[in-house]
Structures are given as structure tokens and as C-alpha cells.
């Protein structure tokens, strides 16, 4: 290996730039942002309908419009960040100066403005939520991008992303814990208002601390992909299209988590039970995620997706048949099992997205992670928009009674049809409609066998591309690995192609070579320009530059 490359490699992995306080403060900033997201995603709909008395249809339309608008915000913000040049860096200024407005808008979202007319409430709802979306993007996009520029040390980047992601997942549940506590002492109206105030005051503190502590050390030259290019790619790569359509339809299953607060409030008549339903579900989901890699060895991504979807639907049908007249803990226990496959369903689409990237690279020699994940992110927001709209429509259909706000703390009776409807929204409706997400999978053809063939071709191609850059023994090991894989009988068994690579490589060696190769080409992360020939080397390096998409939670929330 070239001595300068070795030296650079050592500098990149050996020198530590981040201190303990950087990990802590950045993680707390993630915790704070996730706490706000968890609060708004989990409780805003019920706040609007059950405290402010706004008709569910009006709320649903607002969410649809605002969330889709928000989906298109991210690339715009990405471009703004790319063009920013300040002495504090490109991203930190937005975090520092956006934190307080983020906190203020959070408080405003949960103000119990019950004395306003319904028209004014609707206008207030639109203005505050859209502002929340804009400010959330102003803070969130740079927050996601900071790990990539915080340290040239790739290991440190990976570590800070992993730690902060776990802490962020915990932050998302903070609203759940707070509501379950406040609901014991306060009415619904004041519970939500107090949560908004607590999180709205504390979150900016942690966001600012995170922005102050962390430094931007690596100039980022990555260009934000254009959303139109993303759509072009979507319709060109039919496998990616099938995967995205399938994932778009998974918004039905998100009705389960979105309706928990309604179930505990209006069926079990105890808001504090929210934690008893939501937390086991989140734990079950995480357990499912841990099993995903093991299950991936015995079936491919498509089979895993279908199996998990069917299991989830069957389990929800069981909960429906048992009914809601049993004690609440029986329902909560059954829901734990129903949520086990959700973790798998959160992880598998990302694995499939990577497979579609490999497929496209094999077909066209182009690798377009930037546009791919831009569309994945947009899909997530559109799914969330559809989920809220559909939930609001169902609430209206099932005659969910909204309060008359002229009456103090009014909590109207809910008819049996409304209660049964809420339970169906929680169980049988997502059970039935979630199966629709399997339909686009019919057109998804990247089975384990096909992916094995694609991977074989890609390994050989990449080995040929990089093999001659290094000393024969290291490059030779890679070529040898590729030859071993190539010589396997008629490809690998379904789902096992990865284990073959692991057995014969040097996969780690290959990755090491790729990282070094990209590091010597550029001091910063390689540019994932649209249409550029960005190879696996770039991909591996970019993984540590870009914040990975959240695989630890439900990314539709």
C-alpha cells in the first residue's frame, strides 16, 4: 500500500477529535429534537380534536397539506445549508438560532385556545403547524448533517451517529412518559399544555448546548440532490418504484400507534395507560429489529417483508376478535406480540433500498444514494401525512364526538359506534389494509438469488476498478474473494449470499480498502452527484458522512 495513503488512513482512524462532552451534548440535542417530534406526532391530533374541538376532517386536511409541504422542504433546506458560509460553519448557525423559535412554536402548538371561533382555530392550527414544519426543517436538516462534518475520523462519526440515534429514540418516548404522568393529576387540556411548555422550554437548551459544543471540522462538499431528479430516478428504477409504493402503503399499519392515545382515553378511560400500551409496543418493535439480521439469513428481504406483514395483520385480527371488553392489560399483552414484526418492517425497507441501489449500479453503472434516500425521506413524510388524514377521516366516519369548548373541560360521551370504531382503527382496519402493501411487492424481483448474482458482478467489477491501486496482497485478497464467490455453484442460496462473502473475504478488508481509496481521493466525503459513477467505496464512505436514515424507530412517525 502507498505510504501516504497509509499515513492518511492512520490519521483518519487513529486521531480522536471528539471528546466525551461532544457525544453527550450532541446526543442531548438529538434527544431534544426527537422529544419535540414525539410530542407533536403523538398528541397533536388528539389535542386538536379533543381539546380544541376542531372537526377531525379539518385537522386531517391540514396534516395532509402541511406534511406534504414539509416533505419538499428538506431538499430546499439542504440547498440553503450547502450555500451557507459563516464563521460558525454551515450547520451550527441554524441549530443555534433555530432552537429558541423551535421551542416557542412547540409551546404555541399546544396552547388551549378554546375561546377562539372555529375559523380562527383552523387558521391558527395551519399557521402554527406549518411554521413548526419549517422551523423543524431549519433545525433538523443541519442536525442530521452535523455528524458528517464533526470529525474526519470515520469511526468517531459512526459512533456519534449510533449513540445519538439511540438517545434520540429514547427522546421520542419522553412525551409518552410525561403525558402518562401528567394525566394522573391534570385534565387532558392542561396535560397537553404542560407537556408543550416543559418540552418547549427544555429542548432549546439542549439544542443550543449541542450546537455550541460541537465543531464543524470537515468541509462538506456534498450537494443536496434535487427532488425532481429523485422522481426521475424513481420512475427509471422500477424495483425502487415497487419498493417505494409498497412502503407508501404501510401508512395503514401506523394507525395502530397513532390511535393508542384514543384507545386509552375513550375506551379504557385512563390516559395514564398510554405508557402501558405504547412502551411495550416500542420494546417489541426493537426486539423485532434485533431479529431482523438473523431472519435475513434464512429469507430474503421480500420474503421477510411479506412474512412480517402477514404476521402483524394476523396478530391484530386476534386482538380484534378478543375485543376491548377484556381488562386493558390483556389487550396490552396481545399488542406486544402484534408489534414484534413492526421492527422488522422498519428495517427491511432500508435493506431493500440498498438492494435497489446495487441493482441500478449493476444495470447502469450508476449509484445514486443521494436521490434514493431523498425519495425515501419524502415517502416517509407523505406516509405520515396520509396516516393522519386517514385517521381523521375514520374518526369522523365513526362519529367521534368532539367537545363543545364553551363548556369547561368538556369530554362528551362517545357512542358505542365510536368506541367500536376506535378499536377497529387500532386493530382490524390496519390488519386488513396493511396487506395492500404486499401488492407492489409482486413486481419486486430482487430475490436473494438475483441479488447474489448482482453482488457477484459488482464485487468483480469493483475489484477490477480498485484492485490495481494497492499492493498485490491486499488487492489480490479482494480479487481472490471475488473469484471464490464467482465460482460458487449457480449463485448462492436465497438470502445466504452475504454469508458467503463474509466467509471468504476480506469483506472487511475490502471495505477498508474502499474507505482508504475514497479518503485518498478526497479529504472530505465524496460527492454523490446525480448520475455520477459513485462506487461502493463512495457508498461506504458516505455512510459515515451522511447521517444514516433512522433504522431504530418507526420512521413514518
Amino acid at each position: 500500500m502507498d505510504q501516504s495513503a497509509t499515513l492518511e488512513k492512520n490519521l483518519l482512524t487513529d486521531k480522536k477529535y471528539l471528546k466525551k462532552k461532544d457525544y453527550i451534548t450532541f446526543s442531548m440535542a438529538r434527544f431534544a429534537a426527537a422529544a419535540i417530534t414525539g410530542l407533536t406526532q403523538g398528541y397533536l391530533l388528539i389535542f386538536y380534536t379533543s381539546v380544541l374541538g376542531i372537526s377531525p376532517v379539518a385537522v386531517g386536511v391540514m396534516f395532509l397539506v402541511a406534511k406534504i409541504f414539509d416533505g419538499f422542504n428538506d431538499p430546499i433546506m439542504g440547498t440553503i445549508v450547502d450555500k451557507t458560509r459563516t464563521k460558525y460553519g454551515k450547520m451550527r448557525p441554524y441549530l443555534l438560532f433555530g432552537a429558541i423559535p423551535f421551542g416557542i412554536i412547540t409551546i404555541l402548538l399546544f396552547l388551549p385556545i378554546t375561546s377562539m371561533s372555529s375559523s380562527l382555530k383552523i387558521v391558527y392550527m395551519y399557521v402554527t403547524y406549518i411554521l413548526y414544519g419549517i422551523i423543524g426543517t431549519v433545525v433538523g436538516v443541519p442536525l442530521d448533517g452535523l455528524p458528517a462534518v464533526a470529525s474526519p475520523n470515520t469511526d468517531e462519526r459512526t459512533k456519534i451517529v449510533s449513540i445519538s440515534r439511540v438517545v434520540g429514540s429514547i427522546g421520542e418516548q419522553s412525551a409518552l412518559v410525561l403525558y402518562s404522568l401528567f394525566a394522573i393529576f391534570l385534565s387532558m387540556k392542561y396535560s397537553y399544555m404542560t407537556m408543550g411548555i416543559v418540552i418547549g422550554i427544555l429542548a432549546p437548551v439542549f439544542l443550543i448546548l449541542g450546537g455550541v459544543a460541537i465543531k464543524e471540522r470537515v468541509p462538506s462538499s456534498k450537494e443536496t440532490p434535487k427532488i425532481l431528479d429523485g422522481f426521475k430516478y424513481l420512475f427509471q428504477n422500477k424495483q425502487f418504484l415497487a419498493m417505494i409504493l409498497s412502503n407508501l402503503l404501510t401508512f395503514f399499519r401506523n394507525l395502530v400507534s397513532a390511535s393508542i392515545i384514543y384507545i386509552v382515553t375513550y375506551i379504557y378511560c385512563n390516559g395514564s395507560l398510554n405508557i402501558a400500551f405504547a412502551l411495550p409496543g416500542a420494546i417489541a418493535s426493537m426486539i423485532g429489529m434485533l431479529f431482523a439480521p438473523k431472519l435475513k439469513k434464512i429469507m430474503d428481504a421480500k420474503q421477510l417483508f411479506i412474512a412480517a406483514t402477514v404476521f402483524h395483520s394476523v396478530a391484530l385480527v386476534v386482538v380484534f376478535l378478543v375485543g376491548f371488553k377484556v381488562p386493558w392489560y390483556a389487550t396490552a399483552a396481545l399488542m406486544f406480540f402484534a408489534m414484534l414484526p413492526v421492527g422488522i418492517l422498519n428495517v427491511v425497507p432500508h435493506l431493500m433500498a440498498m438492494d435497489t441501489l446495487d441493482y441500478w449500479e449493476d444495470k447502469t453503472d450508476k449509484r445514486q444514494e443521494g436521490v434514493c434516500f431523498a425519495i425515501v425521506s419524502l415517502r416517509s413524510k407523505v406516509s405520515s401525512a396520509f396516516k393522519d388524514f386517514f385517521l381523521a377521516y375514520l374518526l369522523t366516519y365513526f362519529l367521534f364526538a368532539t367537545p363543545l369548548t364553551t363548556i369547561s373541560d368538556h369530554s362528551p360521551w362517545q357512542m358505542s359506534f365510536a368506541q367500536e370504531g376506535l378499536f377497529m382503527i387500532f386493530t382490524i382496519i390496519p390488519a386488513a389494509l396493511n396487506l395492500l402493501s404486499i401488492v407492489p411487492m409482486i413486481f419486486y424481483r430482487l430475490s436473494g438469488k438475483k441479488m447474489a448474482e448482482i453482488q457477484q458482478r459488482l464485487v468483480v467489477r469493483r475489484a477490477e476498478e480498485f484492485g490495481d491501486m494497492f499492493a498485490e496482497e491486499e488487492g489480490g485478497a479482494l480479487v481472490e474473494a471475488a473469484e471464490i464467490v464467482d465460482s460458487q455453484e449457480t449463485g448462492c442460496s436465497d438470502g445466504a449470499y452475504e454469508s458467503v462473502l463474509e466467509e471468504t473475504v476480506a469483506a472487511e478488508t475490502a471495505q477498508e480498502i474502499f474507505r482508504t481509496a475514497s479518503a485518498t481521493e478526497s479529504e472530505s466525503c465524496p460527492s454523490a452527484e446525480n448520475g455520477a459513477h459513485v462506487t461502493k467505496a463512495d457508498k461506504e464512505s458516505e455512510k459515515t458522512c451522511d447521517t444514516e436514515k433512522d433504522e431504530g424507530g418507526n420512521d413514518d412517525e
Binding site: 430546499i76 372555529s118 383552523i122 395551519y126 406549518i130 365513526f398 362519529l399 369547561s408 360521551w413 359506534f417
Partner: protein, 333 residues
């Protein structure tokens, strides 16, 4: 950057337009009231058609859960809420009771038989429920009481409570109210011999606020809600004609300083295969009350008026129809 500014400006303008359009999407009061009047006529027809299905049957049975809740120390006269929670006598004392009733009706020709079982909670001297489990508020129930009524084509009836005959004679001479003191279950009986018919009654369109119809997998649901306003003189009228009410739909509001109470009733009928399978009745009485507070900056005492629930009732009837293959018989006395 100019291009970016233009795009952002365009987006903001589009959003502002959407917000404005959406705020104007509310139905006008005139349209709302016109629609309500139109729905009233069909509501009465549908209500009668749906409710009549049960009474046309020769045999049916239902279970009824009647839940009532009463804020016992609300001061109706001075219109004040109990506020001092440190004083036990002033602490909000909600009396509530949940009664379970099972009822079966059988008709053969002109002869009828009714059997009603009532399960009532045990109340203390103050009329508050007693609990076997204070933590989970599990009420203690009295022994079930069984009422049996035979009504014959000759106009005579026989009434038994817990197996003991309490009345035998002409139907016209039977007064459940007069017998109620000795047999508490009879307060649930009615001149129609049917608690359900007393609840169903005739549809009322007075103070009608909303009418909704839904269909769901073979079920038809009809729901209505009304608001009636009582003034300080005790006169009750519809919110539409009352000077004490203003606004409509979600904006309906009341002048609590001049209102005594507001009553809101929700009724829901559900049919399946053209037979009534459930009847629900929900009632809330909202009492107007005052709160006084001293303004810190000038020492003035200000009185504000509010409305809050002081009484509520929830009665749910779930109706079943025995198979037509089973012979309909009146049990012997």
C-alpha cells in the same frame, strides 16, 4: 439565490392561500340550519321505522346498562361549584350509580309475558356507591331482583316480584309508581311494561343540533344530538330560538350569566337486517356557575361565568332476537 428567493416566496404565497381558503371552508349558519331542517324530517321517519322493528317482534330480550352521575353538592340556587377542596364537605362529591337490567318479552296472540332482572349498586346513607375495591372503584351490588308480569287478553295482569305476587287484577289498576316504594325494581318498569319503550318514545326534533347516518357492514346507524337551554325562570327552549345561545356547530356558545342549565341529549339507534339491535341514550346537564376573583392590579372583584357538567346519564340497550326456530311460549304462573 434570486431563484431560491422566488421559490420560497411562491411557496409562502401558496400556503397563505391554502390557509385562507381553508378558513373560509366552514358552512354558513344559514346553510347549516337549512340542512338541519331538511334532516329533521327524514330523521323522524327513520327513527320511527328503526325503533318500531323491535316492538313488532313477538319475542326479544335486551340487556340495559343505566349509568347516572350527579354532582351532589352543586349549588343550583346560587349557581356555585364546590371549590374548597381542603374542606371535605365542599369537595366535589360525584354520586354515581350503575344499574344493570336484563329484560325479556314474549307475546303469544294477545297474551304477553315480561321478565326483568335488576342489579343495583349498594349506596351509603348519603347516596354514594360503596366499593369492594376502593382503588379500582369496584362497586358492591345488591342481590338481583326479578320482576315477572303476565298480561292476558282479558285485560287482567299478574305481577310478581322475587316470586311473590304483588298485584293481580285489571291492567288499569296497576300502578308501578305506587308499588315502587316496596319494590325498588319497579321504578324501572313502565306503563308499556317495557323500559325500552319508555326510553325510545317518540323522536324529538326540539333543539335538534345534528343528525348523522352511517352504514357499516350491514349495520345502519342513526344518531342525533340536541341542545335545550333553561333560563333563570325555569323556561326551557331550543338553542335556536333562545336568546341565551349564539353561534352554531362547534361555535355554539351560551350566556352563562343568564343561563340556569343547558341540557344536551344524544340518541343513537343501530339496526342490523332491519331489526333494532341497540338503542343508546346520553344526557348531560350543564350547570352555569360563577367564579369570583380579585384583580391584583386594582383590587376589584370580578365575576366570571362558566358552564360545566353537573349531571350525566348513559343508558345503553343491546337487543337480541331469539331464533325463530324456537317456539314462543309464555311460562306458566
Amino acid at each position: 439565490m434570486n431563484k431560491m428567493k422566488k421559490r420560497i416566496t411562491l411557496l409562502v404565497l401558496v400556503l397563505a392561500l391554502v390557509v385562507l381558503l381553508c378558513s373560509a371552508c366552514n358552512q354558513s349558519e344559514t346553510d347549516y340550519l337549512a340542512e338541519l331542517d331538511q334532516n329533521s324530517a327524514t330523521y323522524v321517519q327513520d327513527y320511527n321505522a328503526m325503533s318500531a322493528t323491535v316492538f313488532a317482534e313477538n319475542t326479544y330480550r335486551y340487556t340495559a346498562t343505566i349509568y347516572t352521575e350527579n354532582l351532589s353538592n352543586f349549588d343550583y340556587e346560587n349557581r356555585e361549584m364546590p371549590t374548597d377542596k381542603l374542606d371535605e364537605s365542599q369537595e366535589e362529591r360525584k354520586k354515581w350509580a350503575k344499574t344493570n337490567v336484563t329484560y325479556s318479552f314474549t307475546r303469544v296472540g294477545a297474551d304477553c309475558y315480561v321478565e326483568m332482572t335488576v342489579q343495583e349498586p349498594v349506596l351509603d346513607e348519603s347516596g354514594f356507591p360503596t366499593f369492594s375495591d376502593e382503588k379500582f372503584k369496584k362497586p358492591v351490588y345488591q342481590e338481583d331482583t326479578v320482576m315477572q308480569l303476565w298480561s292476558y287478553s282479558n285485560g287482567n295482569v299478574l305481577l310478581k316480584v322475587d316470586g311473590t305476587t304483588v298485584y293481580e287484577g285489571e291492567k288499569g289498576g296497576l300502578s308501578f309508581a305506587a308499588l315502587e316504594g316496596a319494590h325498588r325494581v319497579l321504578k324501572y318498569a313502565s306503563d308499556e311494561f317495557d323500559l325500552l319503550s319508555a326510553y325510545v318514545g317518540s323522536p324529538s326534533t326540539e333543539g335538534l343540533f345534528s343528525v348523522e347516518q352511517r352504514k357499516w357492514f350491514g349495520k345502519k346507524i342513526l344518531a342525533s344530538q340536541n341542545y335545550l337551554v333553561s333560563n333563570l325562570a325555569g323556561n326551557t327552549e331550543s338553542f335556536r330560538s333562545s336568546a341565551l345561545a349564539s353561534g352554531y356547530k362547534e361555535d355554539l356558545s351560551f350566556d352563562w350569566s343568564r343561563v340556569s342549565t343547558v341540557s344536551t341529549n344524544t340518541v343513537c339507534l343501530t339496526t342490523k337486517k332491519n331489526k333494532l339491535i341497540s338503542f343508546e341514550y346520553y344526557n348531560e346537564i350543564i350547570g352555569a356557575y360563577q367564579k369570583t376573583a380579585t384583580q391584583i392590579w386594582n383590587g376589584e372583584t370580578v365575576t366570571s361565568w362558566y358552564g360545566d357538567r353537573v349531571f350525566a346519564e348513559k343508558s345503553v340497550f343491546e337487543i337480541e332476537y331469539p331464533s325463530s326456530k324456537i317456539a314462543v311460549e309464555i311460562p306458566s304462573v
